[in-house]
Symmetry: C2
Subunit: 188 residues, 2 copies
Amino acid sequence: MNNRETILEHALVLFASFGYDATGVQEICDQSGITKPTLYHYFRSKRGLMEALLAENYSPYIKRLKDACEYRGDLPQNIAEVLRSTFRFADSNLLFYKLQFSMRNAPARGEAYDIIKPWIKAQHEPVFTLFSEAERDNGNMRGRAQAYTITLLGMANAYIQQAVEENIGLNDDLAYQARQQFMYGIFS
Amino acid sequence: MNNRETILEHALVLFASFGYDATGVQEICDQSGITKPTLYHYFRSKRGLMEALLAENYSPYIKRLKDACEYRGDLPQNIAEVLRSTFRFADSNLLFYKLQFSMRNAPARGEAYDIIKPWIKAQHEPVFTLFSEAERDNGNMRGRAQAYTITLLGMANAYIQQAVEENIGLNDDLAYQARQQFMYGIFS
DNA sequence: GTCTTACTATACCGCACGGTATAGTGAATT
DNA sequence: AATTCACTATACCGTGCGGTATAGTAAGAC
């Protein structure tokens, strides 16, 4: 395996375990069996390393999420697909999921949050667009696209957290259950 | 105002804004208009300062939460009170709420998470006890107290986050709405 | 065989961090 | 008047941080 991948791999483990601030570049180098100039050759800075880590792990999920948000007149179907793609994203790389979750909830003026901000937007945007389009077919949803987006993604996180702590599988059954509960919140 | 309170006040703002790791003791001192020995006189360490901050702000909420979890045979009533006390806690000091939320979701082996761990337990425990007792009156809940606890508190957080970003009031109406959605999740 | 390019090690820099040794100060106690 | 105690400032310590200047090395190009 090349050094770049080795570094990314160990950086993920360390960042997820101790956090961005508390993880030193030297420690990443030690774990990866290389020295600092090597790391700085592949990644311009500590921040650049984190940005590369996010790009590699987020990109496939965001792509699938965009597909899941393609509106074709059947909102419950879209919601199911959003939940399924998000559950699979979490399930496929739990360590990265935990890392990005802690960064999303980090203080707003910290560097970690600043780095992840564009990815939060990349996740939020397609879901928001989906609900905005669904509003046209469903009058009583008007003006609530933002609220629905936050609640849906928030609920997905709650289910994932529960599944992790209870050691339940993040399967499609759970996605179905989450969808039912979310739909109840909309039509009541 | 005495120096101890001044320090706590400014520490809250800085910790909530930039995070525990990224906030320097010197910066807290500068903002508070005192010097480091003064801070270290009142608080043994940076960690001790954070512990004091958590104790002062959490204690009243935990006390009210325990009352809200006193089971008297009416689970929906208890759930409403849990949500109400939690919403009021967030509403009364939003800055502290954001701080504790970011710490709860910080990496598990970081110092910030280590400091807040006992308070997570203090919040989790009474709610868990409530659901455990309610299990005796409601057979189809058996063995799910843990899951209900996580989901209820997770849902509360989702609603609070939504209320903050949408500038909705964290009033009792919202608590009622959250309860309805949660109860639907239980009995389906 | 020389030159270029990609990559890697040694050794170091300046800096900000958490924390403290020392020396007070002013008010209450005896 | 002497002593004690709670509190505060100056100046400093050791450490570890992110990042880099320098000097290679090994492989392919010409």
